[in-house]
Structure formats: C-alpha cells, structure tokens
Assembly symmetry: C2
Homo-oligomer: 365 residues x 2
DNA sequence: GTTAGCAATCGTCATACTTGACTGCTAAAG
DNA sequence: CTTTAGCAGTCAAGTATGACGATTGCTAAC
C-alpha cells in the first residue's frame, strides 16, 4: 500500500509537468537511448551511472528509471533486466537532436569521393546515390522520385515512327515526357502530323495540367479528324500528372540483417515484405509538405513495425521532388543519418546541376 | 578390413558404370529427392520403402543408400539421421525430369486470370509478370530484359527540345530508343536539324550496329559542323548496343524466408546480398545461347550458394530477349517451376502481342 | 541377392542446477 | 525531502544430465 501510494504520488507529480521532464530525467534518458543505440543491450542503472558525468549513485538512477518507466519512456523486458527505450523515448531523443546535429563534416568528403566515378544517366545517379547512402549509414536506403502535379507544358512534339503510330514528346518546365506512343488514324493525309502539332501547341502551350484538364470539353469545337488524337493526348497528360507510380529505388536490403533486432526470421520477414511493396514504400518515405525531414518510429500511422524510417526531401531545379531515406531499427543512429541525408543533398545537386544545366538555361530565358 | 574391401568393391563396380546408375538406384534416388523437396527433412530408409511401389525391405534400401552416398549423391547430416540429396543428386533429378514435365495444365488458367487486370506500360507488364511468377511458385523471381546487339536501325529522328539540345529517337526493328539527349552547337543555323537528320538517315538507315560502328572512320569526310553531332550519335548507338545495364526486375524477395533452409540469419543474408547485386544477378539469370532452360544448382560456376536458379529465355518479336527465372532452395519444386516458366511464356506473348501489334505491322511492310 | 534382427550412434527434448546481472525496497544519512 | 548503501528476490542464460526415439550398419540366415 505504501508502495502504491508512493508511486502514485510520483506519477501525479510528473503528470503535473507533463510537457517537460526534469533536467536530470532528460539527461538520463538521453544517455540511455544513446547507449542503447550503440549496444542494443538493455541498459542497467550502473551503465547509466558510468556514462553520467557527475557522481550519482546507481540507486538514485534506479528510482529515476522506475519513474521514467511509469511515464512510458522505458520498457523492462523482464524484471531483472536493464531497460530499453520505448518509441516515445526515441521521439523525445530525436526531437532533442537537431541542436547537436552540426559538426560532423567528415562524411562530406566520403560522399564526394564516392561520386568521383563517372556516371551516365540520371537513373544511374540516383541508383548510385541510394547505394552511397546505404553504404555510409549501413541501413537500407530508399529514394523516391515523385511524379509532379504542378507542371506547365511548354511544347508538344509528335514524331512519326511508322506503322500508323507516333511518339508524343511533351516538354515541360520540369523535364521531358517521352514514354508514350499513340495510334494514328489509318486514313490520315500528308500534313496530318504537322497540323495536329500546331493545334496541340496552340491549345496546350504554357498551360498547367489542371488547365489542360479543363479544356477537355472545349475541344468539341475542333475539327473532327483530330478529336480522338487530342483526347488521347489529354488522357496521356492526365495519367502522367496523377503519378500512378513514383520511381522507387531501394538499395542495401540485406543490411537490415546486420542488426540483432532482426535475427528472428519472422521479424525480418515482415519488414522485408513491406519493403518489397514499392507503392506503399514510396508513401512511407515521403516527407509531408512543409518539413525537410520526416522521422517515423515504429508502426503507427504509416511506418513499419519494429523500424524507424528517416527521410528527407530535396528539390531539383526548383520543382522535381526527390525523397530519400533510410530504414533501420528503431535504435538507429539518428545523428549519423541526419548528417548523411543533409550532405547527400549537396552532392546530388552538384551532379544533377552539372548534367542538367541546359534545363537551367531554359528557365533563364 | 572386410568392410573396407566390401565398400571398395562396390565403388569400383559403380565407377565401372560411371555414367549410369542401376535402374533401382535411380528410382530410389528420384523418390528420395522428390520427398525431400516437399518435406525438407532427412529421408530414412523406411521413408523410401513407403514410397516405393514394389515390396522391398528397408535393409535393402539401406545398402543402396549407403552405396549412393559413396557415389556422392547423398549426404548424411549425422550418423543416425536420414539422408539428404547432394547437388549432384539434384542435377541428376532435374535431368530426369523433362519427360515428366508435361501434364500440369492447371497453372495456365491461374496465370491468365492473374493477367486479367488492366495494365499500362510494358514495364508494368514485366513487373506484373515477375510478381505472378513469384506468387505462383512462391519463390523469388527475376526477369532480365536484355539489351540487344543484332539490331538494325530503321530511322533516326532529331527533335528540338530547346536549350540547345535535342532528343534523339532511334527506331529499330526491335523497338524505339528514346532516352537520349544530345547537345547542339550554339551557333547552328535554321535548317541545321533537318540537314543533320538527312545525313544521319543516309548514313545509318537499315544498317546494323556493327556496320554503324565501322562507319565511324568514314565520317571524317562529312561537313565539319556535323562531325561532333555524328560522333555523339554513334557513341550513343554503341553504348546502347553493348548493353551496360540489362533491366532487372526482382519480385518476392521475402518469399525466401518461407523455407526452413533459410531460417538462419547468416544464410539468408548471404543470399539476399547476392540478389541485391543486380548486375551479377542479370548474368546468373541469363540462359546460354542454344538452351531454353538453365538450371544452376548451388554455388559452382556462377550460381548462388545454397540456392538453385532456374531460368528460361524468351524472345519477343523475334529479337528482343527476355530471361525470366526463379531463385529458391536447392530442393525447389523443379517440375512446378518448369511448368510455370513455360506457360508464362505464352501469357507474356499474348499481352505483348496485343500491345505491340503496331510493331508487327511494321515488320510486315 | 535379399531379409530380419540387433547393437550402437547420435540428435532432441525435458529437467534440474548454477551463475550472474539487475532490480526494488528499506533504513539510515545528508 | 533527497540521496545513498546494502540486501534479498527475481529471472535469463548457460551447462550438465539422462531418457527417448530414430536410424543406421552389420551379421547371420534365407
């Protein structure tokens, strides 16, 4: 009874200061999380005592730990084991981090040296970037290239490729869409493509996809023989805009298996199965509007059970959105990951800029 | 001593008939492999006795098993356990299969029903096909789309996309290459692209890539202002031909974890790590010229340790090569896999033909 | 060449015991 | 009221032990 009362009083006290833990509790909690991140072993009171700079007895720490446990920050696997952080503790830890994030500039050099090798196409760059992130952090990495919605069509070209079909090339402010073939009418005359091309550019040039969608009804007024062609192309642009598939690159899946939390087959299986579903993975790695970084700890909302997902958003040429992130255990090394993701940003930009400065020139016009 | 002699005589006898095992040995071996494929448990002599159609004592089987073990077909995990097949036994088993492969037509219906859903681009078809193979077989599946070497260029188009650059579209008998942007000279005149286009088509139309490679020297005679453009495009065609990257699609990685042979983390890790290396994976899944199927059991040559890789080659439109295969434990259900791979062939063709009949028409011209 | 029977071998499982690592509690000191 | 030291209690993990069952190889008989 006395015990129960005592605990109760402690709880009430803490609930009173809900938002803030006492200085010492915060300090202890951070030490504990940091140590757990590197050891993956339950942390005992004497472990914390050793890490603690001032002299303080393990008994005092024990009572603090007991209190933190009641508050939901710690979990005890069994009664005579140390304690491990809960997801709540990780969140608190991550929130406390940014102030300490700066400083570790070492990885920049590493990243740049990785990129020294000659690379070909943009897709290669992205794949290599994903490999670099995975190698440096030693976690599984994911890069998502978003299909965009706020795109302005600059011009449209039709290229006859024989067999009554044409390749449609749509040049936008964010890049070139060139993956579409449409059928042409069998009885078309000589100047058909040229005329169609003019009509298309008159109708669509310098319009956003939303605007184009609205013109759908007004094409009824156009010449009959181009109606089906125009419809095809509008549909094509719409399909592009709603981004059926973002492009998803995953590298270093097997790295997950380096961590002891995934040494049981059933756990690793559920995680890998979720990573294999690229559509959902794309959503998970996506940072919400307005944030530069996103941290998802554990399952809740749209994360993965037993995992943390840290991701960052990048913009290329002001528009094209790329989200890159890593997947690892909840006790992932957040500091390192933040660092790497920040600097990868610069590295990618440097490369992309060099390759796509033609696009920049176009913007400048 | 007597024992040793006896064993020796047995061995000598078998070595005498190296190429062929006795009827009964073959039968026993096949039964044993088949049973091990479904149970994953060491097979005892009495297990074989139960499967054996004629009446035969377990003691007889024991002596046959002992003999097969000496010949390297069987392995005994420990002295009082049943026996498991060696890679040599799997190879013998697979070679004995084709005669029995026919018959199981069930999967065709399954496959077709899988494909009923609407699909978009060719890449989607392939990805879906990979998922289908993986789902039906319950193994990890890989599809490799080969870049081709014996391609004939039909025509080349240049499309101005602004910013002193052009999109190069190369139409070949095997498809359209449209992923390349080249830089244009800054001081080009009005008709530059048209002229360049004419020169290109005069030089390259209806030539194979090998032939184009040879024209490299002869362009010295052409007008200076087009020289660098021509060189760019030749390089581009060459790069395409030597197939830096085949496109590799992998689906169902997590399925590996369903099998008891991969319930130790270190084993599954090495396998997954190798599957993640897409370049090597492409080579592994590739069937050598002249074979329709390829079976790689275990590590030797270019397989994966503790795995079997079964793959098949397909041709689309007579040229484009696609290799599809599955990766699973050595005791994989070869019969089922052969069946699925055979029928997927038909299913893919049906879909591709429907989507690409424009290409076929072109061939007919 | 085949069969039945038997002793020997070895993995698996359950049990029990020991050890070591923590904790929570209490009572005393600051 | 906080902190500390000491102690008893708890539990996971490791180790030794023995019974059990599965399976084999060998031998002798058919």
């Amino acid at each position: 009874m006395t015990i129960a009362n005592r605990q109760k009083s402690r709880v009430l006290k803490e609930v009173g200061m809900q938002t803030k833990l006492s200085e010492r509790k915060q300090k202890i909690l951070k030490l504990l999380v940091a140590r757990y991140i590197s050891t993956a072993q339950p942390i005992s009171s004497s472990d914390v005592k050793n890490d603690y700079d001032e002299d303080i007895s393990s008994a005092t720490i024990r009572s603090e730990l007991a209190s933190l446990e009641e508050l939901g920050y710690l979990i005890q696997p069994h009664v005579s084991a140390g304690r491990i952080p809960s997801n709540k503790a990780y969140r608190m830890y991550v929130e406390s981090l940014p102030a300490q994030t700066k400083g570790n500039e070492l990885s920049v050099a590493d990243i740049r040296s990785y990129f020294e090798r000659k690379m070909g196409e943009v897709e290669d760059i992205i794949r290599t970037t994903a490999q670099v992130i995975s190698d440096i952090t030693n976690y599984t990495s994911v890069i998502v290239v978003k299909k965009m919605s706020e795109v302005v069509v600059k011009s449209i070209k039709l290229v006859d490729i024989g067999a009554e079909s044409a390749l449609v090339i749509i040049i936008t402010n964010a890049g070139i869409i060139k993956d579409n073939i449409i059928d042409l009418p069998k009885d078309m005359g000589g100047g058909y493509l040229d005329t169609a091309s003019k009509i298309l550019n008159d109708l669509f040039a310098d319009k956003s996809i939303d605007e184009i969608r609205k013109t759908k009804d007004s094409i009824e007024n156009e010449l009959k023989e181009y109606k089906s062609l125009l419809n095809d192309i509008i549909e094509l642009i719409e399909n592009y805009s709603d981004g059926k598939h973002d492009k998803v690159f995953v590298e270093g899946r097997a790295k997950l298996l380096d961590y002891p939390e995934y040494n049981q087959i059933d756990k690793v299986k559920s995680v890998l199965a979720q990573i294999d579903k690229k559509d959902e993975l794309g959503d998970m790695i996506t940072c919400n509007e307005g944030f530069e970084f996103s941290v998802k700890i554990g399952k809740d909302e749209d994360g993965i059970d037993n995992c943390s997902i840290v991701s960052a958003r990048y913009k290329i040429d002001g528009k094209q959105e790329v989200h890159a992130g890593v997947i690892g255990p909840e006790r992932m090394n957040y500091t390192k990951v933040f660092n790497v993701l920040s600097h990868i940003d610069d590295a990618i930009k440097a490369i992309i800029d060099k390759k796509e400065d033609c696009n920049d020139k176009e913007e400048d016009k």
